[in-house]
């Protein structure tokens, strides 16, 4: 058996407990055909969803397939940008870019069968209610990018609260 130089010193006698092996990989992400059309619609100030040909549910954002039926969702439809607050949360500590208190809400856009999370602003957080009718507030046209950041937040429309039956499956 060959032996190397003697290994001595306090720093090399104990067991190794941590090994750092940095990993870095680069990817180019492709949203896909359906998501690309959705992101382009946001650039135009529109919200596009897709309807499942089988169960008729409307996906927003569209995924190109109905995850419940396993079929392609080819039919596209433009949503109004109005919706209903289905559940919400008032956060009382600030987040980067957000002063406390602020409201995050799961909003079911009219015609959509999935809720999405947006901020609710232009109203007192104490006044936000389940069933509150809200509408999208967009960034200036010149500043629009193909992403959901184009919708700054939702604000109350002033319409009467939606009846519970309209959103009871989404609470």
């Amino acid at each position: 058996m060959t032996t190397g130089p003697a290994v001595t010193g306090p720093e090399v006698t104990g067991p190794v407990t941590i090994v750092e092996t940095p990993i870095h990989l680069d990817y180019s992400y492709t949203p896909g055909v359906a998501a690309s059309r959705f992101l382009r619609s946001l650039e135009r100030g529109e919200i596009v969803g897709q309807r499942c040909p089988r169960c008729k549910k409307v996906y927003m954002p569209p995924r190109g397939a109905c995850s419940m039926c396993g079929v392609a969702t080819d039919e596209e439809l433009t949503l109004s940008g109005k919706g209903t607050v289905c559940t919400f949360c008032v956060t009382r500590i600030p987040s980067p870019g957000l002063e406390a208190p602020y409201v995050s809400a799961w909003i079911r856009l009219d015609g959509a069968d999935i809720t999405s999370m947006f901020l609710v602003q232009e109203c007192d957080p104490e006044d936000v209610r389940l069933g509150m009718r809200v509408e999208a507030v967009w960034v200036e046209e010149a500043d629009r990018q193909p992403n959901l950041g184009n919708i700054k937040y939702f604000r109350p429309t002033g319409e009467p609260e939606a009846p519970y039956d309209d959103y009871k499956d989404y609470v």
Partner: protein
């Protein structure tokens, strides 16, 4: 060899492959392939007893990407489902085993990948020993080069071809399996899986003899490849075909060797073999798939036409 208690056949398949899928995401690429395979079997997802997929989230760079892929099958009401972080051929192996359970008569196996979106040679480094080997970043082609050179140095293989760039291809394959009488109901030309075995060599490259493939040899012995007339081999580089021919004892049989898309190519070999057999080009053939560096894991099956 171990006999399957319940005979399993490949009843339908579909495959798609392209060097670079530019616009569709993984689910959009996979969905038509799954639907084509199901349609050819005359089945809908709710008639499938077991669904299993093979893919690697590392290729997509997205955690739980394999769960998102379930959009392509429609997992509602909840289905019995599984996944292997390997080539889809190893998912097929799991399906064959699950089909041994009474009460499950059909299985859908699929695989998908778009390695064109990342750096495949580097991504594959993450399947190596994370402490002593991966930090050195020996890329996949480099390891294949070590194997080819070891084969050259052994003098046992004649001309050993140079190692070309690692195949980067995007694609998806789906295969429908069925048991016994159910398979005969679904197709006039079931392709029977007479034997299937999966053997694994050590992960540490230094303890392996890279000029032989004992895992392929043992799997081949276990399933009995003596009287096959053709072989569909999953060789990621040309020199691996030489090694596999030797390990499987192939002499004179028609051999179709291919890499295909990473995580898909092995299952595609099963689909291609099934197509060859059901089309009459072969009566009894080997379908093979590999995984890991330098043929570390090998899956060998014997497929046969209905007698």
């Amino acid at each position: 060899m171990r006999q399957l208690q319940r005979p399993v056949a490949i009843v339908s398949w579909a495959s798609f492959e392209t060097p670079n899928e530019p616009a569709r995401n993984e689910v959009e690429m996979l969905l038509p392939v799954v639907q084509e395979a199901l349609q050819k079997a005359g089945l809908t997802q709710n008639q499938i007893g077991f669904t299993v997929s093979g893919s690697s989230d590392y290729l997509q760079g997205f955690p739980f990407a394999f769960v998102g892929a379930l959009d392509a099958v429609g997992a509602w009401p909840p289905i019995r489902e599984s996944h292997v972080e390997m080539d889809g051929a190893f998912a097929l192996y799991e399906a064959v085993n699950v089909l041994q359970e009474p009460g499950i008569d059909t299985a859908l196996v699929y695989a998908f990948a778009r390695p064109s979106r990342g750096e495949l040679d580097r991504t594959l480094v993450l399947q190596l020993d994370p402490y002593a080997v991966a930090p050195l970043w020996p890329d996949a082609r480099g390891l294949a080069g070590l194997q080819a050179q070891a084969m050259r140095d052994s003098g046992r293989f004649g001309d050993v071809p140079d190692v070309p760039a690692t195949t980067v291809a995007d694609g998806a394959t789906a295969v429908v399996l069925a048991v016994g009488a159910r398979a005969r109901e679904l197709t006039d030309t079931p392709v029977w899986i007479r034997g299937i075995d999966h053997r694994i060599e050590p992960a540490a490259l230094g303890v392996r003899d890279l000029t032989s493939s004992p895992s392929a040899e043992q799997a081949a012995r276990s399933v009995g490849v003596d009287d096959v007339d053709a072989a569909w081999l999953h060789a990621l580089y040309p020199h691996q075909e030489l090694l596999l021919r030797s390990a499987l004892g192939l002499h004179g049989q028609r051999v179709d060797a291919k890499a295909g898309p990473m995580m898909v190519g092995g299952l595609e070999r099963f689909a291609a073999a099934a197509a060859g057999i059901s089309g009459g080009a072969s009566k009894r053939a080997v379908a093979h798939a590999t995984s890991g560096p330098c043929l570390q894991q090998n899956l060998v099956a014997v497929l046969e036409a209905e007698k």
